[in-house]
Symmetry: C2
Subunit: 227 residues, 2 copies
């Protein structure tokens, strides 16, 4: 479902060029689970943004469910993102003056889901990550790990085909992390494709495949029995 071929991404800063991705190729089958690891600055979030159609490669091709993403218009890209992809951002990207439940309703609002169903589904998603008693808190009234869980709930509420999670347990204690990974495994069991970036080997072991990036290149791609 995800076919990335020889993709590069260069950031231009004045007279300096930062080569964040230097020729990455990746094929992910529908329903696979894959963990992306690598040192800080190795290009993991840049790759996730490309997969999530939030950014375009400098060169190379990206086909999502058979369609060449570079041929899509801005509005078609937005629709693909809204309908098919759920994204947990490394820095959460929650709306600041908006409550947890309203943040989680947002993907459903864009999908045209009615008010009553939106609220019911958003509450269920927040209860699933243990935040049933924090529905009306705004992000600055939540702990770091609670904000991260709101971001997770928001990514999952529209039941997307592909979940992209960038360091989803970075601010979570071990027990809450295990609960979140159990949710991710339940998604994989339902045929959803899950790509997660993590620096923690204990979290990576939940995926059937581990890809390691170094300086913008893939240095290993191994399969194993998931935990």
């Amino acid at each position: 479902v995800i076919e990335i071929e020889d993709v590069t991404r260069v950031y231009h800063l004045g007279d300096v060029d930062v080569h964040a991705l230097r020729g990455v190729s990746l094929r992910v089958e529908r329903g696979e689970s894959i963990a992306i690891m690598g040192a800080s600055g190795s290009g993991k979030s840049t790759l996730m943004n490309l997969i999530g159609c939030l950014d375009r490669p400098t060169s190379g091709t990206y086909r999502l469910a058979g369609k060449d993403v570079s041929r899509l218009s801005a509005s078609e890209l937005a629709r693909v993102r809204g309908e098919r992809i759920g994204f947990v951002f490394q820095n959460f990207n929650l709306l600041a003056r908006t409550s947890a439940v309203e943040n989680v309703e947002l993907p459903l609002l864009y999908a045209g889901v009615g008010g009553h169903e939106r609220r019911t589904r958003a509450i269920a998603a927040l209860e699933q990550v243990g935040l049933g008693s924090r529905l009306d808190h705004t992000p600055n009234q939540l702990s770091g790990g609670q904000q991260q869980r709101v971001a997770i709930a928001r990514a999952l509420v529209s039941q997307p085909e592909i979940v992209l999670a960038d360091e989803p347990t970075g601010n979570l204690d071990s027990r809450t992390s295990v609960e979140v990974m159990a949710m991710m495994q339940a998604l994989v069991a339902k045929g959803i494709t899950v790509v997660l970036v993590t620096h923690e080997p204990d979290i990576a072991q939940y995926a059937a495949r581990v890809l390691t990036l170094k300086d913008g290149k893939v240095v290993s791609d191994t399969r194993h029995e998931p935990v």
Copy 2:
């Protein structure tokens, strides 16, 4: 140097009260290293904000280096924070339109350090966390772990007596985390008091003492040989 006695912190949200800390007492000697662990939402960041003089308890007392913090004026508090405490925030709190090196210079600017020395020390602090090639990048031109390292450099550049680090390795790969913890250990060896919040047992083992919070209370406080 840190004496917290029976401190509570209640957040009032309309008609709901959130009891984030429910009677916490803690004595930290000068030069000690202590790790604070506990589930997401257990009160760790709230406690760190109190220790760092960024917030006041609802009840209880806090003496810092012998002085009752509640007796200090707002400007005296600000001076204590600027001169004695270095804080690594869970969400980094970097200035958005400001380069890495200017973000790290900020504590020195407040301390009245001259321009040339500020720049030299800020560059050295950034090189120490491996960001010598990222001095002029603004936060949105840095990876998550790079932003975290700028926050660490900023906390250490003024050589404070007390370092408070809230999840300083949450976005760092294992090798970079080990380098950061080696820096923290070097500070302890120089007599600096280090309090760090972490959810990772591998990181907590670098401290000589581990305090665990649960629902706003201390449930264990154990000492061991640091790694």
